[in-house]
């Protein structure tokens, strides 16, 4: 069982420091940070129980926005309401903000340097490979469901985006509306039974 901590200034500092260090030392995207967050919040600090944390991660993953920010918001709110949510979010976004601000300034200074250009020339091809490898992995999980609808939706979306260059937000809005309609229809079917 988790024990909710006493909410005082010391707690807020601890919450800020925990999310700050988690964000600072986590490379490799949302999934990595949420598993480390679980380890810290559930196992080491004992602020949250395992089942709650699993729920938070599921909700964070299935909602708009960066997973790490969403998970921090959920955890912070659960522990200390809106102030807690804001403190943990600030801790999560501060490290990338500071680091990327510095890099942005540095990038302008060195972007025309021959060696920097050469390094990015090589890395660009690697990034394309990483992104397409991610696509392949995601596509396989779509295909493994052995349902026709997701594959049809994939094909429709791909043709709209790649061939007809439809704005991605238009496609997303259509798909969200479609999913809501399907969800309502399914709920009705359940009722009929």
């Amino acid at each position: 069982m988790s024990t909710k901590p006493v909410i005082d200034l010391k707690f807020y500092l601890k919450l800020f420091w925990t999310t700050f260090t988690l964000s600072l030392f986590t490379f490799g995207g949302g999934f990595v940070i949420v598993s480390l967050m679980r380890k810290k919040m559930v196992v080491q600090l004992g602020w949250i129980d395992d089942e709650e944390m699993m729920d938070f991660i599921t909700i964070a993953q299935s909602s708009p926005g960066p997973i790490a920010v969403n998970a921090s918001l959920m955890v912070g709110y659960h522990l200390a309401g809106v102030p807690g949510a804001l403190v943990s979010t600030l801790g999560t976004i501060l490290p990338p903000m500071v680091i990327l601000s510095l890099i942005s300034v540095g990038y302008e200074a060195v972007a025309e340097n021959t060696w920097v250009k050469a390094a990015f020339h090589g890395m660009r091809a690697v990034v394309a490979a990483i992104v397409l490898q991610v696509t392949w992995a995601l596509f396989r999980t779509l295909a493994e469901t052995k349902k026709v609808l997701p594959l049809v939706l994939f094909a429709v979306a791909f043709i709209a985006l790649f061939v007809f260059r439809v704005n991605i937000m238009v496609v997303m809005v259509m798909m969200v509306l479609l999913s809501i309609l399907l969800s309502i229809r399914e709920a009705r079917k359940e009722k009929m039974r």
Partner: protein, 184 residues
Amino acid sequence: MTILLQLFVSFFQIGLFSIGGGYAAMPLIQAQTVEMHTWLTPLEFADLVTIAEMTPGPIAINSATFVGMRVAGIPGVLAATLGNILPSVIIMLMLARLYERYREQTLMKHILEGVRPTVVAAIFTAGLSLLKLAVGPISSLDYFALGVFITAFLFANGRKITLSPIILLLFGALGGIGWSALGF
């Protein structure tokens, strides 16, 4: 519309529509920063994705900071980042309140399932444009970049050896510098 407001609105949309985490934000960032506004060139966008791979933090926050800084300095960073996390703040606080009451949420799950194929298609499209940028048009193919791409693709999720993105990028950078040093 002032530039700060434009940054805020653009990154608000990126935050609102990036459902499914991780790479889902990337095609949206590309649409907003390269196509709808000309804050970044396609090449700068590719460099931004590279930098985001090598630094901690979500790609959307990284991009908001990078673009905000370039377009309007520190106020730009704050406007873009705030815009980016605001949808999360609003939606998560609503869901958190519901969670404490009901502990389930079917509609969000349905929406996620419904948009997942689109997210995959969008990441695929963005990946293809990054590939085209890296290896050039078919008429004047960059064989060095193509070689690096194929090697990295095989080792990004290999049967025997899988290398982390950071290691792959390091090899790519060294390869690029070496290739340039050889005088190509």
